[in-house]
Symmetry: C2
Subunit: 695 residues, 2 copies
């Protein structure tokens, strides 16, 4: 009986079907060959890796020409498009197209990363804390080791980015070395009405009809970056049943959490996030409806809020569904039984699950303080984040690299500075809205009698305090630069209200963070590391690690599915969009499409969107979909509603990635937007200062 | 071992400590005597019963003079106070005081009920479905029996109200016969700033400083109602440790739900309600902030939303707390084990719990249709409810009483008509807000492709449809009266957009309701009835039934508690309110209080609010708190945060009812508001047309 139980566990543990967000250094080539008759070799993998990029803010993308042209989603560039817009010219509504290179405009806050090397630093990171009990010294040593590794790797070169990445929940530490591009310019974006056709109602649904694309270009020294690694467009695109690969940066999954952690997610963390997001959604919707200008400056924030709300709601629903929960519980039970059954395993690992459960119980009563005081959930304003970076950053920079808070170590400074000195406009009334909203929330969540709330609000109402804070001078990038250069003394001498506010918050925030890192995080690290080691000892590395916003490769196929007893086809057509349109937002097609259709310039049978069995999740937005010849056949922009449970496990029967079909991309660029410069570049024409000749 | 287990279950099942919302016909007098050395006799109980009233809209109250003066909470009259206000005169903000009888103003929608008789109709209701399987006939017979009983009882007299009440989840049916008062006038209300001092942040908290009171007067034939049953004010008020009774109308508890039902509440129903409420709260907050007028017309809606949100959040948190869940699971396990252990019980009851679980599973996939299509969760506007009552009511009235939908039976018509022909003002922009909001929600929750959504919206956006619907003529009470009198033909002939909309919705709504009543409700009734019978057979009626918004009596004492390691005193003082005040909403004291304090007219050591161990819940708002001599010592208006878990069980160590102390009521009426007419009446002076002489 015991043997059978063990076998069935081993089977459950092995990645099934097309499941898996695989690291490039552990791709299951054999398994893919068995199922699809093809498997990539080392060179293939390297080419795909180097042609993929990460948008450091939270998306994926790919090089699609030798001259630095990058394809990603519209919703990944949405904030840039909004930042480049003005009251007079709204590129989100109207779309953007730079007819020549000179017209390409720099995005204030986009950083691109191209992964050039992966190294294993497990021994060095784990070695730093060897023999130490969880606590202050453990935390200090561990953070110092990671900071050293990253600094050595980048060696002071801001064009490199080095991140120590924790995989398998601490079972393995990898060093990811990237080329970093911070001069990234907007080349093309369609109108949001077609990029996000169907809006929130259709978000995370399929069938779908979205042209969720934008083109950016990476520059270095004022010139387009030349790269030999890029994806070429497939002339025909993918068909039903065809093998597809997706390389991208899934943001995070929780497939390996313990039951105690899952229960915390189900009963506490996810509901609380959803209550927050739902209320913010209600308020933001009203804010955007107050005036066209409010709509313009806040619509991306609303999109982000609705998108998170729907995604997290899907996760919550997956956790309260009895089947998944039972599977998870059974898996943990069997794993622990296996550990308990063998004394060599038992001695090393038996207590690990209970230890993690204790950490969860310890964190829970202080979760709100951590979230509202340290994580700034109530001060949800870029002005506050800027002030905090100035206050903390100037203090942290006085310490040696290895002793700083992680986000102020040398390796992190280039990205920090990009945000700090961003020229993106900030709007006072939106800041007032966000700060008042957040301050009310802090009072609500911590309670009116909490010492921190009393300290922050005093006798003021949240609205009054918000009005005072937005009188800050930090809108002006020069003021930020002066304070940063003036260092700690300049910050201490500043009478700016937001700087003073951030200074007032900081001691409390540092205190709860110190407690969190030293008491919670270290214990969690030790517990998770032991569970990971137990799994390695029993299974080897036959499994992929939970997603960590680092490059992964997934394989799958263009494939429909069954829903409520009827079949969903894997491909939609451009004609379908016209059938679905009502003329009213969010089902309103833009003028450009109506015109092109009227002039019969669009082929209604062109495939528009498609769904595939690739295992992806949030962060994969903008990922290239390509075939075995590494030809680009699509652009990931979503998953179906069933994919949201992918946070916890992959169900191939219904979980689908959703992508724009490559044919629709070319068709629209060519026949709706007349963007021949881009079409030509995608087809291999050289880029000139004025672009390829219009046909 | 088994014996011990059974004993411990019996112990757990017996109501502990001060627990219990007892019906007046099954009050545990012996238990009270054992603990407090006093127990009420039949006459005492009858007097208390007759001096108590229900506000049919969802609150409790009491007669406090022989001339129909009724005391309840401010928040129970809030909607009336708002309805009587205008853009020019805002009684919510400024307070209301009728210096003479002539100045008392009729509330458009308040109905008072005085319980005059309780009868047992179990045999007749259960007998109607004897031998029937759940389904259509079962439903028809059961509803017909209830309608007949109610009609016979009221015998066509609109001044009587008769409700068949389902107690013990169908274990017992009682007939509650009330005197009905629909001419109810506003006498006094303080400013909302002191009625709800501390606002949402302090709601469901203690210590507390609220004067949450209003006075109404019941009229009959244009004259104050004379009643010999009323509560006299205690000269001294209650002190710590004193025995207190609360008679009132707790709205509902779920203490006897099965684990399957509780799990549905925890995982589905409560989270979904909270997501809804949180979003609505965000939107409503923004709506009220748009202008002073929007604030005036929507603040009660916002209060209601925030109040429900906080209350339901407390319930959710109680269900995800491991202790309560384990207790509940253990109780059910033990109960079922006891049933399984004895063959006589097993044969009758063993399958009941699983049957209920099946009903829950059956309902779950269609819950949203029921909620959005039939319950109108997306058409959250009085205009829609009016239209629906006209459409449905005129159709239902063509049928015999026994065949109608419950809410259109003869016994229900007086209350229905009060709402339908209410002169309460309706505001177009608030209606647009509610309808747009709701229509977006319908589309979101049912999905853009749901046939009902397509039928309702067509190619329109929710906002467009809302704008069309508010062009209805139903603002005008005369129009409603004409349609009602014109009956079904008039409604069918009407071209009013809201009437046509309600007609379009009705067939779908009736279909899902039919399914719900015949397939879900009947099965649930049968299952719950069997569980109730099992409990009766094992325990007798030693327990109280779950609350059902019918009159209950609870006993307890003025008593503090421990919270986070420190002691909370059971009494606050008027001086404490001045210490807590910040001068900013919601911690701003009204001018009248500041003035009275300046002139040293207020005694700062007067007890203001108090907490007691009485077992209450939402619906008890406005309940009198009285001593063993039936002297009024307080006015229930809230429970502490720990009381929210009272939905599922009573924990005497921390669950507290929160009341205004009688001394504060007199002090404020006398020294802040100069309401000597009321003070004198409370002290026994006769009422005259001009009121008792001012002192």
């Amino acid at each position: 009986m015991k043997r059978l139980a063990l076998l069935s566990v081993a089977f459950a543990l092995a990645a099934r079907a097309d499941e898996g967000m695989w690291t490039f250094d552990n791709f299951p080539a054999k398994k893919v060959r068995q199922k699809y008759g093809f498997s990539p070799d080392a060179q293939w993998l390297q080419q795909a890796q180097l042609a993929s990029v990460r948008l450091a803010g939270g998306c994926s993308g790919s090089f699609v020409s030798p001259e630095g042209l990058v394809m990603t989603n519209h919703h990944c560039s949405h904030s840039c498009i909004e930042q480049l817009s003005t009251k007079e010219k709204d590129f989100v509504a109207e779309g953007f197209y730079a007819p020549t290179l000179e017209n390409e405009v720099k995005c204030p806050e986009i950083e691109l990363n191209q992964l050039i090397q992966i190294g294993d630093v497990t021994a060095r990171v784990q070695g730093a804390t060897k023999g130490l009990k969880p606590g202050k010294e453990f935390n200090d040593k561990r953070k110092a080791a990671m900071a050293s590794i990253e600094r050595e790797c980048a060696a002071g070169n801001d064009r490199l980015r080095c991140d120590v990445v924790e995989l398998y929940h601490g079972g393995q530490y990898s060093l990811y070395k990237y080329k970093r591009f911070q001069d990234v310019r907007l080349v093309f974006a369609p109108e949001v009405a077609i990029a996000f056709f169907g809006g929130d109602p259709d978000n995370f649904n399929f069938p779908r009809y979205d042209l969720d694309v934008s083109f950016l270009r990476a520059y270095e020294d004022g010139k387009p970056v030349r790269t030999e690694h890029y994806f070429r467009f497939s002339p025909a695109g993918a068909k039903e049943g065809e093998l597809t690969f997706v390389s991208g940066h899934p943001g995070g999954t929780d497939r390996e959490l313990t039951m105690a952690e899952l229960q915390y997610q189900r009963d506490v963390a996810l509901p609380e996030r959803l209550f927050d997001l739902a209320q913010l959604r209600g308020a933001l919707t009203m804010f955007t409806e107050q005036s066209p200008e409010h709509h313009r400056i806040a619509e991306n924030a609303l999109f982000g809020t609705e998108n998170s709300y729907k995604a997290i709601k899907g996760r919550f629903e997956a956790l309260v569904a009895p089947t998944l929960w039972k599977q998870k519980a059974e898996r943990e039970r069997a794993l622990r039984a296996k550990v308990d059954a063998r004394s060599s395993l038992r001695q090393k690992y038996a207590g690990a699950w209970d230890d993690v459960a204790k950490v969860v119980a310890m964190f829970q009563p202080r979760r709100k303080e951590y979230r509202y005081v340290e994580q700034g959930a109530g001060f949800n304003s870029p002005l506050y984040r800027i002030a905090r970076d100035l206050v903390r950053g100037t203090e942290e920079l006085q310490k040696p690299n290895e002793q700083r808070l992680r986000e102020y170590t040398d390796a992190r400074l280039p990205q920090l500075k990009q945000g700090l000195f961003s020229k993106a406009p900030l709007y006072e009334d939106f800041e007032v809205f966000k700060l008042s909203y957040g301050l009310v929330k802090v009072r609500e969540e911590l309670g009116a009698d909490h010492p921190f709330v009393k300290k922050v609000l005093g006798k003021k109402s949240p609205q009054e305090l918000a009005q005072e804070l937005v009188k800050t001078k930090l809108y002006d990038v020069k003021v930020r630069e002066q304070l940063w250069q003036g260092g700690r003394d300049a910050v201490l001498a500043s009478s700016d209200p937001m700087i003073q506010f951030a200074r007032m918050v900081d001691p409390d925030a540092r205190a709860i963070r110190k407690w969190y890192e030293e008491e919670v995080e270290t214990r969690e690290t030790v517990g998770a590391e032991r569970i990971a080691a137990a799994k390695f000892e029993m299974e080897g590395k036959s499994n992929y690690p939970d997603a960590t916003f680092t490059l992964r490769l997934s394989y799958g196929a263009v494939k429909g599915y069954e829903e409520n007893g009827h079949r969903v086809d894997p491909l939609t057509t451009i004609g379908g969009a016209f059938e679905r349109a009502t003329g009213r937002d969010p089902f309103r097609l833009p003028e450009s499409w109506l015109r092109a259709n009227e002039k019969q310039q669009l082929n209604p049978s062109t495939p528009f969107n498609m769904c595939t069995t690739n295992d992806i999740i949030g962060g994969n937005s903008g990922s290239p979909v390509f075939d075995k010849d590494r030809q680009l056949v699509g652009l990931i922009f979503d998953g179906n509603i069933q994919s949201l449970g992918g946070e916890y496990g992959f169900d191939e029967t219904v979980n689908r990635a959703v992508a724009v079909h490559s044919s629709a991309l070319i068709e629209a660029l060519d026949h709706v937007y007349g963007a021949q410069r881009i079409v030509a570049e995608l087809k291999g024409a050289p880029v000139t200062a004025t672009g390829p000749a219009a046909r």
